[in-house]
């Protein structure tokens, strides 16, 4: 984790980004690839480009009753074992600061002792459990002394914000936990804003910006904090009262995919693209995800976030309920009430990939899917080497263009779990493939040529960006396709060279090759 010191706070991050690039160039540094891009999600049959993690918030250890402790204990033991996440994120209000009283008056070391008494035996450490402070850690503690002495990350890093990455071989992913709690140490007050002057100050923003700069080579950036970015409309909520413009500017300029938060004890998912208060984003916005309270809410108590071929999916669940089912490919075109701007269309192909994660402590008796409510159920198969992932190829050839529903259902002695998503089916006559995963404004865009071949209907043209491709291509279906190389990365001119390391194999169908060089190494 690196900290860039003495960097002045910049309120116009959109201007900051090119300025930093220029600064790097002046120093003779090569700017990193600018690849953190929520648009990089791609529809693929590849079933080995997936990871997932757990997001919890508002644990409130020390609150009246035992839900707080019971649920945290379940998350870090049974849920951790069954779900097997890459890591766990806890976005603030780790403790209640009441110690069983009717109003916050802490911090209380007793609450922190209980927190660690749950986490330590479960093996939670700083490489797996990412906890950040909320307003309940800030009451009466302007320096976050108790968080720094007792939280997993506070103790390990000596800081109130945390940055980490995961490199899975198929991509690098950057995560940030930001400290949105105020830094005044105000006590809780019965008057608004209830001792909660939330925000991000210059030091905090400097850290955030530095980490975003350092990890610009990440495929995706996902950020977590405690507070909402803006007014929620809830009469008892607080949100970022300072630093919001710069922070939202960073989310926009550095291509963050998601801001996950808690605080409100409500569940909501929407696309946030800025407003008058935060400033409007120039991009398509972020997944703005509000998880309810693990310790105090009665539902939507935790979520599983999965990244499959750079597409983000979220399943929100109640504790102690199995099985959990979430569809990770194709992507859901809906995010709450909003349309996901980062979703891809699905092709009218005979063989469309479908993948779902299923978690259950008991053996599954079956996993099946159906297309639309009137469709028949079809079984899915477990993916070799990934005991949680199930897959199938679904036939969209005879379906009409437009919206369709995909449901996946899993059953065991635990019960039955179902996930439902919406997709948009498009029968494209021209498809695009680029190893960068982005095709300018052209759609549908595939990172792998093979996925485009699978998706294309007979008569389609697949345009391929210039560059060298090492895929082993196979057409094994009764359809005629044209592969057309030499296109620039925006697919506006066809003057480059596209090299295939392997000659395509065509056991069935026909493949016409144009402007392609087949040149084994």
């Amino acid at each position: 984790m690196g900290v860039l010191s003495m960097k002045p706070r910049l309120r116009r991050p959109a201007l900051l980004v090119p300025a930093l690039v220029f600064f790097n160039l002046c120093l003779g540094l090569t700017p990193p690839a600018w690849s953190a891009d929520p648009h990089s999600a791609f529809y693929s049959a590849r079933n080995d480009r997936i990871f997932w993690f757990i997001h919890i918030s508002d644990i409130h250890i020390g609150a009246t009753g035992t839900q707080d402790s019971d649920n945290l204990r379940w998350i870090v033991n049974e849920a951790k074992t069954v779900i097997d996440p890459s890591f766990i994120v806890a976005s603030g209000d780790l403790t209640d600061s009441t110690n069983g009283g009717f109003t916050p008056s802490g911090p209380y070391q007793e609450e922190w002792d209980e927190y660690r008494a749950i986490l330590n035996p479960a093996g939670m450490d700083a490489s797996f459990y990412y906890d950040m402070p909320g307003n309940h850690e800030a009451y009466n503690d302007r320096f976050f002394s108790y968080y720094l002495s007792n939280a997993i990350q506070g103790q390990a890093t000596g800081q109130t914000q945390v940055s980490w990455t995961r490199d899975f071989g198929f991509g690098k992913y950057h995560f940030l936990g930001v400290n949105t709690a105020g830094n005044t140490g105000d006590p809780f007050s019965i008057f608004r804003p209830w001792g909660d002057p939330a925000g991000l100050d210059e030091d905090e923003l400097t850290f955030i910006q530095a980490e975003l700069v350092q990890h610009q080579d990440a495929d995706l950036t996902l950020i977590f904090g405690h507070h909402p970015l803006t007014d929620t409309g809830g009469s008892t909520d607080t949100w970022l009262f300072y630093g919001q413009e710069a922070f939202v500017g960073y989310l926009d300029a550095y291509g963050a995919s998601l801001y996950g938060y808690g605080h409100t004890h409500r569940f909501k998912e929407e696309i946030f693209a800025g407003n008058d208060y935060t400033g409007f984003m120039q991009g398509d916005g972020i997944h703005y995800f509000n998880i309810a309270s693990l310790g105090k809410s009665t539902d939507h108590q935790y979520s599983i976030m999965a990244v499959d071929c750079n597409g983000v999916s979220i399943a929100t669940q109640n504790v102690m309920t199995w099985p959990v089912v979430m569809i990770t490919a194709p992507l859901n075109k809906d995010f709450g009430q909003d349309t996901n701007p980062y979703v891809y269309d699905v092709p009218g192909s005979e063989k469309n990939p479908l993948r779902a994660l299923v978690f259950d402590p008991n053996a599954l008796t079956g996993v099946r899917y159906r297309i639309d409510a009137s469709g028949d159920w079809h079984s899915m198969d477990p993916v070799s080497g990934n005991p949680h992932l199930w897959e199938a190829m679904w036939d969209a050839f005879s379906l009409a263009e437009g919206p369709h529903t995909i449901a996946v259902e899993a059953a065991s002695v635990s019960g039955t779990g179902t996930a439902v998503i919406q997709v948009n089916l498009v029968n494209a006559t021209t498809l695009y493939a680029s190893s960068s995963g982005t095709c300018g404004t052209k759609n549908p865009c595939y990172r792998f040529i093979q996925d485009a071949i699978n998706a294309a209907r007979t008569g389609a043209i697949i345009r391929i960006a210039e560059g060298t491709y090492s895929e082993s291509l196979t057409l094994n279906a009764f359809k005629s396709l044209t592969l057309q190389g030499g296109w620039d990365t925006k697919f506006e001119t066809q003057a480059g060279a596209t090299i295939l390391r392997n000659a395509p194999e065509v056991p069935e169908g026909s493949l016409t090759l144009q402007s392609l060089i087949i040149k084994p190494e």
């Binding site: 009717f102 070391q109 503690d141 320096f143 002394s145 007792n150 019965i190 008057f191 608004r192």
Partner: protein, 176 residues
């Protein structure tokens, strides 16, 4: 070469600047009786901060206790010099509270509300201290009294919510 007069001026300035720093140091031996109440409040704050933010989170309970006792002593000295110091009473109440000396804490918070009747948060903290020692009637009386000093609807609702919760806790204790 610095002229001697200017050199002396530097020395004098340095001493003058250092004096306030020295006087704020916890081991300063300047006369308590001559010091203003504010001075003792600040010393009390220093001791409290050492105990509560440095020692206690690191589980140095004995060290924390030592600092808390010194903080109590300083806040009491401040009150002896200025019995109407709201800040001194409030800080003393806070130290007593973290020491789990709840009745003494409630007594000091009551003094805060006596001196500043509109301080609703102090009524709440008084009530909280009373509930810690199960003096529920006193707690409810304090919250009910607070309602007379505000017409903020949201605050009144919150006070009623607190009263309800205390009544529930009281019933729960009585049933046991």
């Amino acid at each position: 070469m610095i002229p001697k007069k200017i050199h002396l001026l530097f020395v004098w300035t340095a001493v003058a600047c250092a004096l306030p720093t020295l006087s704020a140091f916890p081991n300063d031996r300047s006369s308590d009786s001559e010091a203003p109440a504010r001075y003792h409040v600040e010393r009390g704050n220093d001791y409290f901060n050492k105990g509560f933010y440095e020692a206690l989170p690191k589980k140095k309970e004995d060290e924390a206790l030592h600092h808390f006792e010194q903080a109590v002593s300083e806040f009491q000295k401040a009150i002896a010099l200025d019995k109407d110091s709201v800040e001194a009473h409030r800080k003393l109440a806070r130290v007593y509270y973290v020491q789990k000396r709840y009745l003494e804490s409630a007594r000091e918070y009551r003094k805060v509300t006596d001196l500043m009747p509109s301080d609703i948060d102090a009524y709440v903290l008084t009530a909280l201290a009373y509930t810690r020692v199960k003096q529920y009637e006193q707690a409810i009386e304090r919250l009910t009294a607070a309602k007379g000093f505000t017409d903020d609807k949201a605050v009144l609702e919150k006070l009623d919510d607190y009263i309800t919760r205390i009544e529930q806790e009281q019933r729960s204790v009585d049933e046991k």
